[in-house]
Symmetry: D2
Subunit: 368 residues, 4 copies
Amino acid sequence: MLNCAVLGATGYTGAELTKLLLAHPHVRVTLLTTRQEKPIALREVLPSVAKDMTLEITPYSFDQVKKKADVVFLCLPHTEAMTAAEQLLGAGKVVIDLSADFRLRDKKIYEKWYGVNHVAPQYLSKAVYGLCEVNKEKIKKADLIANPGCYPTGPSLALIPLLKKKLIDPRSIIINAASGVSGAGKKLVTATHFCEAAENYSAYKVNKHQHIPEIEQTLSEAAGKPVKITFVPHLLPVNRGILATIYVEATGKATVPIPINRSKAEIGVVPVNHLGNKVKTGTESLIRKTLETAYAKAPFVRIKPAGQYPCLKDVQHTNFCDVGVSVNEETGRVVIITAIDNLVKGAAGQAVQNMNLRFGFPEEAGLL
Amino acid sequence: MLNCAVLGATGYTGAELTKLLLAHPHVRVTLLTTRQEKPIALREVLPSVAKDMTLEITPYSFDQVKKKADVVFLCLPHTEAMTAAEQLLGAGKVVIDLSADFRLRDKKIYEKWYGVNHVAPQYLSKAVYGLCEVNKEKIKKADLIANPGCYPTGPSLALIPLLKKKLIDPRSIIINAASGVSGAGKKLVTATHFCEAAENYSAYKVNKHQHIPEIEQTLSEAAGKPVKITFVPHLLPVNRGILATIYVEATGKATVPIPINRSKAEIGVVPVNHLGNKVKTGTESLIRKTLETAYAKAPFVRIKPAGQYPCLKDVQHTNFCDVGVSVNEETGRVVIITAIDNLVKGAAGQAVQNMNLRFGFPEEAGLL
Amino acid sequence: MLNCAVLGATGYTGAELTKLLLAHPHVRVTLLTTRQEKPIALREVLPSVAKDMTLEITPYSFDQVKKKADVVFLCLPHTEAMTAAEQLLGAGKVVIDLSADFRLRDKKIYEKWYGVNHVAPQYLSKAVYGLCEVNKEKIKKADLIANPGCYPTGPSLALIPLLKKKLIDPRSIIINAASGVSGAGKKLVTATHFCEAAENYSAYKVNKHQHIPEIEQTLSEAAGKPVKITFVPHLLPVNRGILATIYVEATGKATVPIPINRSKAEIGVVPVNHLGNKVKTGTESLIRKTLETAYAKAPFVRIKPAGQYPCLKDVQHTNFCDVGVSVNEETGRVVIITAIDNLVKGAAGQAVQNMNLRFGFPEEAGLL
Amino acid sequence: MLNCAVLGATGYTGAELTKLLLAHPHVRVTLLTTRQEKPIALREVLPSVAKDMTLEITPYSFDQVKKKADVVFLCLPHTEAMTAAEQLLGAGKVVIDLSADFRLRDKKIYEKWYGVNHVAPQYLSKAVYGLCEVNKEKIKKADLIANPGCYPTGPSLALIPLLKKKLIDPRSIIINAASGVSGAGKKLVTATHFCEAAENYSAYKVNKHQHIPEIEQTLSEAAGKPVKITFVPHLLPVNRGILATIYVEATGKATVPIPINRSKAEIGVVPVNHLGNKVKTGTESLIRKTLETAYAKAPFVRIKPAGQYPCLKDVQHTNFCDVGVSVNEETGRVVIITAIDNLVKGAAGQAVQNMNLRFGFPEEAGLL
């Protein structure tokens, strides 16, 4: 049995992770910590635990973690995680960090988007980005795993295989994403007051969300060149789930090239996209097939059949990422829709999946 | 006092319209009808009416409408409205049709998207599309006003001035829209069962929604050439409201053109859009200013200042259309967000606004 | 035109009241104040106002209020209102206080339940409790009107006529109430975080809610003797509305008395209530008729016919109080259900109704 | 491994049950059936199953059930279950019936409340009412287990120990219950349309709900004499969960009796309840302790400490029944609040718990 510690177990992510670990067949939860000063019974933050559950969440103590844990999950706020990680890595622990502190490889980009100095930059290049299905081999050997952000997970999984096969234009990526309120955490702010969020819906941080550089880094690597995206997150009046509706343009590989000097009459009326490519009837099935092949052996990525699209209900409380595809043959534009549970595949579930990969457990252990 | 009849007063739109007309200072509700066989007390469908309200919704009778109404609002299902409209126009009534039957000028396009024959095609060219702020002068003289669809209203208002000024590329239009459940009407279907819709969110009719040709017709007229759009509607777990997040690319007029044979290195890293145009710092304010100017005298279109975006709460139960703008200077892409109440500005409110224009009442009478 | 000031216009109640006053045919909003240090545009808190609305909410200044207002509405927190009221009454203003500060006639009871000293006790006996339908005549002459609390309004309206006619046992009153989240105000607390309130439902302040003494005071007056109630409020995952399900026992006047030494076999099986009274078949209609008669001329109290019950949807955004009645003939118990909008009839709407009564406007002016 | 069949696996209860059985360590799901004519993939109704799940829900065939199942769960509509049960019991199967068909021991009462003839009355006396914590020993030997209704479960668990100890008056029981919409099933009716249910709350079937005789039967048995209750169910705008707020009066055993001819002055002002009993300060803790003792070994019944009350969030997706207690010392009335997940402890979870008891598995197997 692997001994696990969760640092920051009182937040939504920490509690969800604790729940998954308690039900996991191959691990033992040996320590739960909080930044608060007094111990809290686990049942206070996780009411679904057994009646006789005696576990407590105790104030953070490095000595305790050192003594009790083989693997340490950091559910700490961005910028607090890096200090803890440095110390724990020094003590030989495997660290799975659910914060953003080690996701961006470039110190400057991190500091620009998060507005703070990075105090452990020496680990930036050693950290492995824990997008399980994509970085599986590296994760198996990593001592510091940077668990992906909730927004980046779905779109990255959907776009990477298409970028690698050069089926979509890397300049054309638009991600329209909508998240449930738990994504904003437990902190009390006006936007998450029930009377503001319920019966409401709005965009926020338009072109300014801190997950933009994370997605761009991942997609640039897949495309083999710098990728810039347009990303607009929205706040949904639901507890859990992220649905991303992604708009991209198919490249010549997925289309039938036509002469660049096409007649003006054609523009906008025949299925010609911005690149001057005519969309083939088979573009949609080519894209779907590419995704199906890429994730044929991935237990948590499900590609929907033609005419069907993901929805939040299908993925809530699961580690699945569902993906749907539609190609508009009039405009040559590709629509890809992804859905995950932000607290599971977008955080705690993917963290457990990373642990499974790292320690040689079956990938779906504790997750299905 | 103008005598008004509402045909189909039991649905969500009909009830909302009746509510607005009852509070209107210059009209009188003289007839409410239903396709059901028995009369229903108005209070059954509109519980907010006065305690002593005795109005009834009665089975449809052409003679009654002929006798009692100057203006007739059709809140009938698509395809039923055209039959009624033909008869009523023949009897000299002014008809404001809230169905889709007279919105599309091309009979073939109507029949393709709605799957039925059009029985009154002679009125297609006479009908005026009731997008109030845009077609004001024509509406003043129209006897048949085709009230716009709920989804088309916001995006049309936002994009028309930009297309007219050629500030955005007509080939680049992507509309990601999300609607409250009342937009789907009162009919009982699985998707609107509380347990399916609540805590859920999903796309539907991707690239297949019947409002696509309506939006394309409107935007083509503004652009002066055929426009094809990408349109993905989503179902939101709220009662009312539509928020559309629109992605377009700025043209050379709003940007700084750069040579088409720009070096590959630049692509995707400098602020160059698909058209090979470099975005100017001032693009965002140029677009915002264009919209502000276009709607300076429009009482119901409000352009949000920089950094602010519309939300459903701000427009629910009002006839406003709120519009926000953001330009991503990295990608050269323009994000425009519009919000309306689907039952008010997207249906009943705009119908009243059309009546106000047609009969010379103040444009905001009964709406503010 | 009457000049109105709203003190505390930024909260949910203050904004709702401002909205109603702006639409009122006989008044003018001349001053809106806030306890914050900087002025705020009204549109920031009330987005439904006209586009060209220039009204501002300004920091409180006694001199301004003195100069600009005939009637002053206090939407201040409990305990702040009393200080302001004292000053304003001294300046000859009519004060309608939406806080709890002048609702309880007994200084000690106020201090026990609200945990603070009362600084203006000399006004406690002069204040008129603004339950419009019940205290109409006194309200017409009052200079200080204590607008009722949101929870007390519905149950008080339903029970007063029955207590006055001695049809129900004053010892038997149980009020099970459920309120929308806006009742808890704009303050950020854990219970009103979307993720805590949505998809949730729970009781709170069981037997401890500060509206208990207010209801008991009102009902004691109607019963002519001290009344103690059982009151359990619950938090509903909706924005607006209070539904109260009230359980009482019919007295001998509404039932057929049977001998107190009835056989044990009868207990619990024949329709005999705690008082040893056998319920008549006509008890339900007697109670319904009593309520209908009491509110025959009240424009905002609607008694539902047999077999129909109030719901929140019917009263949201209205000043109505709907009341339904059911008598269980097996147990002799009476169920009365009331529904109001907590921000309208439970606060701002009733305040306007009080103003209408006080200044001789039609009772429903600005409210229908 | 025990072979399980679920008849009626497409409804909310059937799908939840299938989910629990698939995760159960000691059973195998060998058959899922539907009344529809064509087979359906399980993933269509239970999207959380593994990606490679090939189970199908097939049209009902008695031969298949006979061949493949040891235990058969009936998730059929009331009145259909009894026919199936008769046949399956004849074939020697253990039947756990989630419908109401075998819950009431009296054929006449069943027929009165459900409005149909009972076709298998010979099994009414043989069926064991599957309230696990209460009927554990009988359940261990039962071949036909009538799984309790969703509303009866919580209140029965809370009241039985108190009635057995004669601490509460059996004539005084009032149950104010509120259920999430899934309790109404998947059928499309107006009341469960999103636009009717969301932002709404109302009572329904006041004094007429078919769970009344079930609760009365259970409580009568505990009280040792006929019990009649007042029961008012409400529809909550949430997916899952039932919270019942129960009002009862403490008897002399829990209180201090005072003379019946007490002075009138005392009535309603001192803590004297209807029975003429003065409430002791220790009544609340006596009641709480009685419940704690009764359920000390029950893994799924949790008694909240003083001042804390159950909420839906704490029990959703679990098999717990949480119970809170408050005694109003002013009125002598006891408030007991219970919360369960209607689909788990109120249906599928309790059915699994019944199976665990019947087949000698640990009581919490597959449920914690």
